[in-house]
Subunit: 327 residues, 2 copies
Amino acid sequence: MVRIGIMGYGNLGRGIECAIKQNADMKLVAVFTRRNPETVKILTEGVSVYSVDDVQKLKDEIDVLILCGGSATDLPKQTMEYAKYFNVVDSFDTHAKIPEHFANVDEAAAAAGNVAIISCGWDPGMFSLNRLYSGAILPMGKDYTFWGKGVSQGHSDAIRRVEGVLDGKQYTIPVDAALEAVRSCSNPDLTTREKHIRECFVVAEEGADLARIEAEIKNMPNYFADYDTTVHFISKEELDRDHSGIPHGGFVIRTGKTGWNEEHNHVVEYSLKLDSNPEFTASVIVAYARAAFRMSKEGMKGCKTVFDVAPAYLSTLSGEELRKQLL
Amino acid sequence: MVRIGIMGYGNLGRGIECAIKQNADMKLVAVFTRRNPETVKILTEGVSVYSVDDVQKLKDEIDVLILCGGSATDLPKQTMEYAKYFNVVDSFDTHAKIPEHFANVDEAAAAAGNVAIISCGWDPGMFSLNRLYSGAILPMGKDYTFWGKGVSQGHSDAIRRVEGVLDGKQYTIPVDAALEAVRSCSNPDLTTREKHIRECFVVAEEGADLARIEAEIKNMPNYFADYDTTVHFISKEELDRDHSGIPHGGFVIRTGKTGWNEEHNHVVEYSLKLDSNPEFTASVIVAYARAAFRMSKEGMKGCKTVFDVAPAYLSTLSGEELRKQLL
């Protein structure tokens, strides 16, 4: 049994808890929170919620500590801190800061003799893996990543900051014509606007100037100005009824050429269609927690990413079973 | 530089040669053949063709020997034999015999201190990897593999054995309705007939009984009887003009559920659309030859499959570059 601790109990932490339930070789032993533990109700019977301050007391009960904080401020501190005491897995997803995060975590984990796997999930994560595999196989080619259809938390937050907006949800949607152009092996150079559209569902205050709100959203730099954006004003009831889920997904497509004169085209496509972004991310993380546990048992240490983990470590099946059933 | 030898110069061997040309860190040093070497003309200038009997003489010139023989009779002998002297990669694809092949090759490679990677390509190979990854992430789910649209060599050969047939080509085609049923997360149980159709293009002898040929093909046990099969009679010119390529591809789809009450559905889909089956297979093999070379340098030995190879070994990029550019 791999004994798991969950640090942080939001959407992702709850997803981890659900994923552990689906994996017979895994056991949840503790949830840690910055809130008052008595106010945090979890789903698993017989498992306690502890204050984050008590995490070291459970050092010997936990094989892998899964860090469910945010990438902006939590994980840059937490992962390197807890890698001193535990094997850890995180889903750090600020792409530009991954090299720095890796270096910090590697130093802590290597010194302590622990395994830390960072940036697990689907992007970074499964999408990264597919970029690597298809790029290694088809060096003369080009890859494209599309996101959606799915809810972008950052863009939804940006909408909610507009004056007169009570609530809102934003969907990122890949443009079908762009997907088809890529699949045709024409190697298109696509602008930001050509790749994705943004669709917003907005609940406005009564009497608010809707035209002003719509213009303010559509012209917002970084978030919306570079995209074709549509804004729908709906009631709070409609938003809660039709847009309360957290779906996401996307596509990684690489096209490339082979042959002595590069006369043959190939398309490698990986896609995800997810009802729940945090639950799928959590499912990836839990598989990598299994890997962290096994790699640590074999004496490995330091910071790893999905690129460094041999696939067999993720599966409950033995090498023999894998070769017989899946190869 | 990784110095490569190619054992066997058919479609796959030529594909390996083309793939090496695309990889700046790889160098072809020798091609070995069972034919008279003087009759074998290769594409790469300055590289010699040798008799298979001379392979051991080039032991010190070759880092990885790529075995391009067939799975029926060549590879069961060759891989275990050459693993005594070289790091080797093969594309052994008789799924049912992989465990036995693995055991034989592992013994030889481990004793000699070499790395042998078997069953590289796309199925077994990339499709197997996708079955493993998606299965580890979504344990409560089901996976489906579809092949095509593509040419099946075995079925084309079967057509050609029918009396009165001069030549023929068979395409395996996934049934769209089956793909859609799988993607809908309805977890359908699909029969052989529901998953794929078979389309045959046949050149008949002049005056042959076409109805008899068509019936004989459609009722052929194992090959066609369990499928909806269509037979088109065409001229030799049409066959050569329209059906001389070796395209293939397919889909690996896993659907699964997450959530405390399994209330959320997810679809993970990997697909390939290949103009040239042997050239794409060769491109996968060459990436794994790079991995075999590096793993051997690190002191690893014995038989491996795609499941045992950490993805980073496949790429020419360093760990730092991978994290910065692809993660």
